[in-house]
């Protein structure tokens, strides 16, 4: 038992089971001994739970707000209805149905399965579109594409009566097959398990990283499109199963079955509970079902005269929508992350029953790596008439620490951005040459996508800190290790745990990155870059905002970390005490050109460097 609960997947399965049991038993307890209406309510709640978990898989993991999932649900619902309805009935309701559907009648299970396949195919097409439009967390274009889908399906549902039965839709009775709640239970537990496993799967976690910070994720070797695609397909599959069940349970499908009202209901359930948590989604479903039912109950109460008459106005139909809309508004204003942010039952199970974690071995320096060479040659960058870099370049071996200094606006960060693929150079080249078994291997990196550069072995940090704020400290580093394990194969690298201990972050490994103080956040970004097991770590102002004492400490940290993962370092900084202490060689940039290169001593003595900092007056006839 303990072994099960301390293993990752085991505890997740157990947690999913607990979640399922709590929801189902709670529902059954409410339904037992009550009116049949209660039974129907519980059935609806369970179906809604499947639907909301389907939404969670996409919205939660990618952070893209989709209004279109009810469009997918509608496609599935119609497909199911058309396939499952008897031939005779179809001849009456939709006599001119195209595609030869008039002669098809499947059993409900086969109809539902076919509906899932059809919907997933549509989902794939839409997903390709979303990927093409560069959907990212909070991007409006992605939301609009999904909205257009919802309305398109709704329009077709209402107007293409030959296929859909028009405004009245298709009502049917399927006889037998799906008539017990068994299939709902099966679908629900499957949905919970799929969602839970996906959330902790490699692809799911990479998608969450992209959700938290798209740019940082790309600079770490993550291509966001793939995670979104997988999330969408899984999500659409779950949603379409739920849609078939809903249509089956209602006995009818019409344009209004899956439209704005149902979108609102399911979104509120998702948001209230916490969109990043499966437990939260289920909690939201249960909670909103209770609230919904209570208001409905209130609205049905007969009031005969007396003081209660004043209440009449609030008890009319529409109250439910007010409660739903109000809940959404309230949560957006006061608690946008929902009741549970991203907690799952298995977190608790593992802590309660699992084994305590041992503090890992301290970090040892890696054996001297094969030599590699980063050559950046003649890079020129124009920003609409403004020349940010003019034939700038640098050479760095992975056995040294190279510094990049220069006054504000000299082009240091731009150079780093060119090397990491975030800015396109007008001219010049950048090449990473690694020694491999078959001799030196040159890999051109200028012009590559950021995630390709990261996979080639260049890890970077950002001037203004780009952590994944909602993820834990350990998960931040884990994400990098995940990318490394796939794209940076090779020898034994330090474990994530060792790196955390090394950076002094072990004690706070389960805290969210956004809760860290500044110094630790900087350290975390550094460790995260190191966990990519890069050939080079590129640091953009690692000491900015640090006090003198802290930045002196940073010298040792950077050097020790580079040694531990066997990586070279290219570092931009303004703190010359730090740069002088940490670097073997320094390049000085001014006005987009390299004006000096050499050891720290040479740089300090260089008249051009002094001129660049002190201004033309002190420079004399230097240029």
């Amino acid at each position: 038992m303990q072994a099960l609960l301390s293993s990752r997947v085991g505890s997740q399965l157990a947690g999913s089971g607990v979640l399922f049991a709590v929801l189902v038993l709670g529902g059954l307890a409410y339904a037992s001994g009550g009116a049949p209406a209660r039974d129907i309510l519980v059935t609806q709640m369970l179906i809604n739970a499947i639907m909301v978990i389907g939404l969670q898989i996409y919205i939660g993991n990618t952070g893209v707000l989709s209004f279109g999932h009810m469009g997918f649900a509608a496609i599935s619902g119609y497909a199911f209805a058309l396939l499952a309805t008897t031939v005779e009935r179809k001849a009456r309701i939709v006599p001119d149905v195209p595609l030869g559907l008039d002669s098809v009648s499947l059993n409900p299970l086969a109809a539902a399965a076919t509906a899932v396949v059809v919907t997933v195919v549509v989902g794939l097409v839409v997903g390709l579109g979303l990927a093409r439009s560069g959907a990212k967390s909070g991007a409006v274009a992605a939301t609009v594409i999904t909205l257009a889908l919802l309305f398109m399906v709704h329009e077709v549902g209402g107007a293409y009566a030959d296929l859909t039965g028009g405004r009245n839709g298709i009502s049917f009775s399927v006889g037998r097959g799906l008539d017990s709640r068994l299939w709902i239970y099966v679908a629900l537990i499957a949905a919970i398990v799929v969602a839970r496993l996906f959330k902790s799967s490699r692809i799911g976690r990479l998608a969450q990283a992209a959700r938290e910070d798209d740019l940082a994720a790309r600079a770490m070797g993550i291509s966001p499109a793939r995670g979104q695609m997988v999330a969408l397909v899984l999500s659409v599959a779950v949603v379409s199963v739920a849609a078939s069940l809903r249509v089956f349970q209602l006995g009818t499908v019409a344009p209004s079955t899956f439209f704005f009202d149902y979108t609102l209901l399911t979104l509120v359930m998702l948001i209230v509970g916490g969109r990043n948590s499966i437990a939260g989604s289920v909690l939201g479903v249960a909670l909103m079902t209770v609230v919904d039912e209570t208001t409905r109950h209130l609205a049905d109460v007969e009031i005969d005269g007396g003081p209660a008459e004043a209440l009449d106005i609030v008890l009319r139909p529409g109250l439910t929508d007010i409660v739903l809309g109000g809940s959404m508004l309230g949560f957006m204003i006061f608690r946008a992350r929902g009741l549970i942010e991203d907690w799952e039952i298995d977190h608790w199970l593992r802590r309660r029953f699992g084994r305590a974690e041992a503090v890992p071995e301290p970090l040892r320096a890696a054996p001297t790596p094969e030599e590699a060479q980063l050559s950046v040659v003649d890079i020129t960058v124009d920003f609409g008439g403004f020349r940010a870099l003019e034939k700038a370049g640098l050479e760095a071996s992975n056995l040294e620490v190279v510094g990049l200094i220069g006054p504000n606006g000299a082009g240091k960060t731009t150079l780093l951005n060119v090397v990491t693929g975030l800015v396109e150079a007008t001219g010049g080249s950048a090449t990473l040459t690694e020694q491999s078994a078959g001799g030196p291997e040159a890999c051109p990196i200028a012009g590559a996508q950021p995630f390709e550069v990261a996979r080639a072995g260049l890890a970077r940090t950002f001037q203004n800190l780009r952590l994944f704020p909602a993820l834990t400290v350990r998960e931040n580093v884990n994400i990098a290790a995940l990318v490394a394990s796939r794209h940076r194969p090779g020898g034994d690298r330090p474990s994530v745990e060792q790196l955390l201990v090394h950076a002094g972050l072990w004690e706070m490994r389960d805290r969210r990155a956004r809760e860290l103080d500044y110094g630790n956040a900087r350290r975390l970004e550094l460790v995260r870059a190191a966990a990519l097991s890069p050939v080079y770590i590129l640091l953009d102002e690692p000491t900015s905002g640090m006090s003198n004492v802290e930045s002196v400490d940073m010298i040792d940290e950077v050097r020790a970390l580079a040694a531990a993962v066997g990586a070279g370092v290219v570092v931009i900084d303004h703190d010359l005490a730090f740069i002088t202490g940490v670097c073997d060689r320094i390049y000085c940039l001014d006005q987009g050109r390299v004006i000096a290169a050499g050891t720290p001593e040479e740089i300090h003595a260089d008249p051009q460097v002094q001129a660049a900092y002190l201004g033309a007056a002190a420079a004399g006839p230097a240029g």
Partner: protein, 296 residues
């Protein structure tokens, strides 16, 4: 050729209303970075005001005109004050859902107080009149809409280009903090943006309601959607783009209606949505796009 001209006139008539709504959505997006899903509710409120004026009070349609306009402006300001003020500067996700929630709340309030049924109110009798010029059949209301929209846009352009209000608004849309450094008050400029958006929606509502003559809780949904799509086609936040987007949407709807095969005419809107989705896939930044550098 005649067909094409006919379609153009019909399309501009439709598109004008979309353009006015889209412009309002763009103005609000400019200052708040929020896609306002509650914008259509201005039309819903206006519709019930028109119903109250025309049926309950029994006045003529001309009396509804100023009141509908005021209702749209008042509602716009009220919604900002009650809801949007509190989520200023939040994530896009939060703001989208906030306006979505307001959309539903307004709708639900009308379901509760007025019921879900359709309420009809009198329309001006000239609204259905048709002028025949040669082979062209021109609806009077189309001419009125196009004229009024042109005038409204002219006034709006004047406001935006020449008055301090317009300059502040554009400055705030471009760089909110820099505008504050110039002395522009955030509350004031946002409130005024909502007044302008409400006024534009008010003009749109007047003609939209003259055409339909109906009020129900979901009245605003369809125009809202077209307005949002038009604003986004034009490149969100781009005011000129929003107007082009609206007109383009109107004209392409009418053209599609005349080009589509008989049995697909019913789903013209569906086809339009599909085309829009396709458009975004290939040009997610919209028609008119102003490049801004991403700070790393």
């Amino acid at each position: 050729m005649i067909d094409l001209v006919q379609s153009l006139i019909d399309g501009l008539g439709r598109g004008s209303i979309y353009a006015l709504l889209a412009l309002g959505i763009a103005v609000i997006f400019g200052v708040m970075h929020m896609v306002n899903f509650a914008h259509g509710e201005l039309i819903t409120v206006s519709a019930y005001v028109a119903f109250a004026v025309g049926v309950t009070a029994g006045w003529g349609w001309w009396a509804a005109v100023p009141l509908v306009f005021c209702a749209a402006v008042g509602t716009s300001v009220a919604i900002e004050f009650i809801a949007f003020r509190w989520v200023r500067g939040s994530s896009d996700f939060t703001m989208l859902l906030t306006s979505f929630a307001v959309h539903f709340l307004v709708q639900a309030i009308f379901v509760m107080t007025m019921g879900a049924s359709v309420r009809s109110f009198p329309r001006p009798e000239w609204a259905d009149r048709v002028w025949s010029v040669g082979d062209l059949n021109i609806q009077v209301i189309d001419v009125a809409v196009i004229g009024a929209t042109a005038a409204t846009l002219a006034v709006t352009v004047y406001l935006l280009q020449r008055t301090m209000f317009g300059i502040s608004l554009r400055a705030a849309a471009e760089d909110f903090d820099a505008a504050r450094l110039m002395g522009v008050r955030s509350n004031k400029v946002i409130r005024r943006a909502f007044i302008l958006a409400g006024a534009l929606a008010g003009i749109a509502a007047i003609f939209f309601l003259m055409r339909t003559g109906q009020a129900r809780p979901t009245t605003g949904l369809s125009p809202l959607l077209k307005g949002i799509l038009a604003a986004i086609i034009g490149g969100l936040g781009n005011m000129r783009g929003a107007v082009y987007g609206g007109l383009l949407l109107g004209v392409s709807e009418v053209l599609l209606r005349s080009w589509l095969p008989e049995d697909l005419v019913g789903i013209t809107d569906g086809v339009v949505f599909a085309l829009i989705a396709l458009f975004f896939i290939f040009r997610p930044q919209g028609l008119v796009y102003v490049r801004s550098a991403e700070r790393v």
